[in-house]
Symmetry: C2
Subunit: 409 residues, 2 copies
């Protein structure tokens, strides 16, 4: 480890386990004699420019463990993406505080920020070790088998759809649930994990890896409804037409974008409403409901995978060890070596930064509206052991005795 101070920051959307990674870094880094202080930057790179640091060397283990159990970036987050001027301001602060190792916990935008920063550090001749710790509920980082944050969000989505399936079975109709996922359908696909009985929903799953057609969608819903008298649909916020245009853009007049050029998809019920309105207007189905799961997917208190917690911590701990042992920058990547064994490696930043992994063809059914058993086998070991097992009444029907009885449809 380079002699000096260590800095840790969190970027992008929060997850249920992002503080496990933070705490993993702090606890591991404090073991090294070459580390003088462990600082935390508030709100990612913004806090570096602003010289807005906490001295995490002074946190107790007890409080750190409480923070580790708490969802959402304890240091605060940012969507800022530094340009050259921004980097210059960052280096002023890093130099002033003798920071020689920087751990940035985040997704592909954050790893790209780190790549830019590492390049600028080399250009200006500032010795800085840059380590990216993976985090994203989207599960869309290349090289990685999966990413910390995804399993807990997947568990939320699975539990949510298992619940709305039961609700929809009790009061029949069509239910459309919109799940986060701009380019990758991993989180939406997790809706299938809670299915138990043959006729359980979700009955249809639409991911951004396939082109969405409104006509086919309506036909699919009508077909399931005709068969079961009900239909539960899981749909990704990132669905788009054959030209790549977002379906939600058909409605949104003012599209809000962040510094990375991403259009705001969450925080609005527009897509669910658009889809339920289409079903209402093009079919005779009279009970049609839609929900947009929104921010609950990444922040809900008390829905977490213990496997995810362990891996988020472990990836960060390995990151500090890599920084100490290997004399290079990089991104900690997660590899599945067997069912279910995980290995951590330090991959080049360039291999992860700004790239997006999407669901492979082996995970999407040929009909394009469901997932394969291979996907469920991939997902199941990550979500932990305490998944609920829903029950159904098994009693026989009572023989009808009345003849010519008026019956309700």
């Amino acid at each position: 480890m380079l002699q000096g101070n260590i800095l840790v920051a969190q970027g992008g959307g929060p997850t249920a386990v992002i503080n496990q990674s933070l705490v993993g870094i702090v606890l591991e880094a404090r073991k090294y004699a070459s580390v003088e202080h462990v600082y935390g930057a508030m709100h990612g790179v913004t806090g570096i420019v602003n010289e807005d640091f906490l001295d995490l060397s002074q946190e107790t283990v007890e409080n750190l463990e409480l923070v580790a159990q708490t969802p959402c970036s304890a240091l605060g987050s940012t969507r800022d993406k530094p340009d050259e001027t921004y980097c210059t301001e960052i280096f002023k602060t890093l130099k002033a505080h003798n920071i020689r190792t920087f751990f940035y916990i985040g997704g592909n935008d954050s790893s790209d920020t780190l790549r830019i920063l590492a390049n600028e550090a080399r250009t200006v001749g500032y010795p800085l070790r840059c380590i990216h710790i993976p985090k994203t509920i989207d599960n869309d980082l290349t090289i990685n088998d999966h990413t910390p944050g995804y399993p807990s969000a997947a568990k939320f989505v699975s539990n949510a759809f298992a619940g709305v399936n039961l609700d929809n079975r009790a009061l029949k109709g069509v239910y459309v649930g919109v799940v986060m996922g701009r380019h990758a359908g991993f989180l939406t696909a997790a809706a299938a994990l809670g299915r138990k009985f043959e006729d359980d929903g979700p009955h249809l799953i639409y991911v951004p890896e396939r082109t969405f057609s409104m006509d086919s969608f309506i036909d699919d819903v009508q077909r399931i409804y005709n068969k079961l008298g009900r239909c539960v649909v899981a749909i990704s916020e990132g669905i788009h037409d054959a030209d790549g245009n977002l379906i939600v853009a058909q409605l949104a007049q003012q599209m809000e974008t962040d510094a990375h050029g991403n259009v705001q998809l969450s925080g609005s019920g527009a897509l669910a409403d658009l889809l339920t309105d289409a079903i209402k207007s093009k079919t005779d189905i009279n009970r049609v409901r839609g929900d947009t799961f929104g921010y609950l997917q990444r922040s809900f208190l008390g829905c977490v995978s213990e496997v995810d917690q362990r891996e988020a911590r472990d990836a960060a701990t390995h990151g500090v060890q890599f920084a100490n042992e290997l004399e290079r920058d990089g991104s900690v990547t997660i590899h599945r070596t067997s069912e279910y064994q995980i290995e951590y490696r330090l991959s080049p930043l360039e291999d992860v930064a700004g790239k997006t992994k999407v669901m492979g063809d082996q995970f999407i059914s040929d009909c394009a509206t469901y997932v394969t058993p291979a996907f469920l086998d991939y997902l199941r070991p990550m979500v932990g052991s305490d998944m609920m097992d829903p029950g159904r009444l098994e009693a026989p029907e009572v023989k009808k005795v009345l003849k010519n009885k008026r019956r309700l449809s």
Copy 2:
């Protein structure tokens, strides 16, 4: 207990513990020699007209206990409200199957259905014991201190807001979460339970017990935002203007209503979008997000209060005992006799049927946009013991050393 068969059914919106009540009735009723069979009607009163019964006498205890742990009406539900003709069809079935005691698990609409049915039974001279078992996430049944289903839904809302508060603290802005509740704000008010630190959200809570003004709302949000740089709002779907017109009706062109004349409020993101659009257009705040919690509040798998589970079971068991011991119809009501002791009574159906309880003035703060400590004292014992305790970093700030540094806002 009247010699013959027993029927149980579930009406209205599902809850996390409605099957605890179902199982409570089945297990208790099977103990009585006078009870020949315990039947379950599929989809409430609809299943009675259709002679659509399961013979619950043949369920194993093991499977019943699995069903009890499963959210949402295992027998299915209905929104149907019987008129005289409908009742006539019901009696045909009850008579044909020698049903002498009917337990209907539901809210104020279901208890009103039971009241109508009990009156018609007397009119036509059909001996029928009618017992209402309380259930509603809205917590709006008169006489009752609270109702089974509410504590678990309140726990969901509390955990959801505790999570989005952390999310909103990490990525600052305004967040509006819309919670179920047509006339009563109990569920929305539960958003306050997860607050721990002084500046935690929700910072504003709007319930249907108070008139909503868009101008005041915008002012309130701006004031909190100016102070904290962020603002989390919990808002009830049932908010209305001074004339009683629903705020969401300003947008909805086609208002869907059920057989009880209720307008559809859930299953659409319209209200959250209306409110976030208003904030965006009338303030300079640039990050404004809104979620509608929708059906997850009443169906999410794995978020349940063990106190709620116990009470839902116990209320039903008492219902069967009342049917056996007392020679009258009624609604099982829940009374708090001390902090925290519960007693079950059999109240007249007329005192509960079709009536709505709203939050008392002692539960709403004078400013009308928050709840009182008395409300939190009322709610806390119901939600169970496993509420999470979020942590925050406590480390001191690092002293800034750079002078005249460019800083970001």
